[in-house]
């Protein structure tokens, strides 16, 4: 318990240090040979998408675990449900920023803010589906809502592979994948640290904020359970 409390103090400091170093590296590496300094937007854009995918994957896993455990292990199911909503919210924030930074990069480089190509459209649909998931969670209550939300989350995640593969399956305005995109698809070696450090930094930030949101949701669930128990006692 003592070690856990120590981690609660160390993790935010560690995250802030990573973010500060990530920002420093992003602003000090040499400019991109083709794009100039505007290419530095990608040092925030790419990590934002990596964090988005991690958040939505966490949401998917938690939703599946919730559906499996909701009948037999109610305590576990409530915990994973809290983690599901926390990761979905963080994912929606990252997804929005991914689209916004992409748009801010696209205007000077492509000459357009937005285009309805497969990658961008699928991404917008992904964001809208997860916003709908959060709206559902806010406007309904109880175990029925949790089950329905878990099912929606599984369907929502089906769009993630489509977003990732869109640049390979269709001709799009969006560049081809930078990572895992086959030979010659990686970032120039001198620019790689800026991408990598910011991926670590924003993942650490995501874990920190999801942790706080998870704690808040757990407290809310406990208060809700206590309220229900007291109401039952009063009736009895």
């Amino acid at each position: 318990m003592h070690r856990f409390r120590l981690l609660l103090w160390i993790w935010p400091l560690f995250t802030l240090a990573l973010l500060a170093y990530g920002l420093h590296v992003a602003l000090t590496v040499p400019p991109d040979a083709d794009q100039g300094d505007v290419g530095r937007i990608l040092y925030y854009h790419v990590p934002t998408w990596v964090a988005t995918l991690f958040c939505f994957l966490t949401n998917l896993i938690c939703s599946i675990v919730y559906l499996v455990t909701r009948g037999s292990f109610p305590k576990i199911s409530l915990r994973v449900d809290a983690l599901a909503v926390a990761s979905a919210e963080m994912g929606v924030v990252f997804c929005f920023l991914g689209m916004a930074t992409g748009s801010l990069w696209g205007r000077p480089v492509w000459g357009i803010w937005w285009t309805w190509d497969a990658r961008l459209t699928a991404t917008l649909v992904l964001w809208l589906i997860y916003v709908s998931y959060l709206v559902l969670r806010n406007f309904a209550v109880g175990n029925g809502m949790r089950t329905l939300a878990a099912v929606v989350a599984i369907f929502a995640y089906c769009d993630v592979p489509i977003v990732y593969m869109a640049t390979r399956w269709w001709r799009t305005q969006h560049p081809a994948p930078v990572f895992f995109g086959g030979p010659g698809s990686s970032v120039a070696p001198n620019l790689l640290p800026a991408v990598q450090w910011n991926i670590f930094a924003w993942l650490a930030w995501g874990m920190l904020v999801v942790g706080i949101r998870y704690a808040a949701e757990r407290r809310r669930q406990t208060a809700e359970q206590n309220f229900a128990a007291q109401a039952l006692e009063a009736i009895a």
């Binding site: 400019p31 920023l97 990069w105 930030w205 808040a216």
Partner: protein, 56 residues
């Protein structure tokens, strides 16, 4: 706006390779990212305090 102007000075800008719009978009992208994340952190912290002080 003043904050963005102050922040703009720390972002690299070389008139030989960058246009004014390039620089503006670079500054806005970084400031927007931090602004949105800090706003969301504020929202999450508020939720946490509200849940902490919630009476059963």
């Amino acid at each position: 706006m003043t904050l963005i102007s102050a922040a703009a000075s720390i972002f690299p800008y070389d008139p030989k390779i960058d246009s004014v719009m390039d620089h503006q978009h670079l500054v806005i992208a970084y400031c927007l990212t931090w602004f949105v994340h800090l706003c969301y952190l504020g929202y999450v912290s508020r939720k946490w305090y509200a849940a902490k002080n919630q009476k059963p």
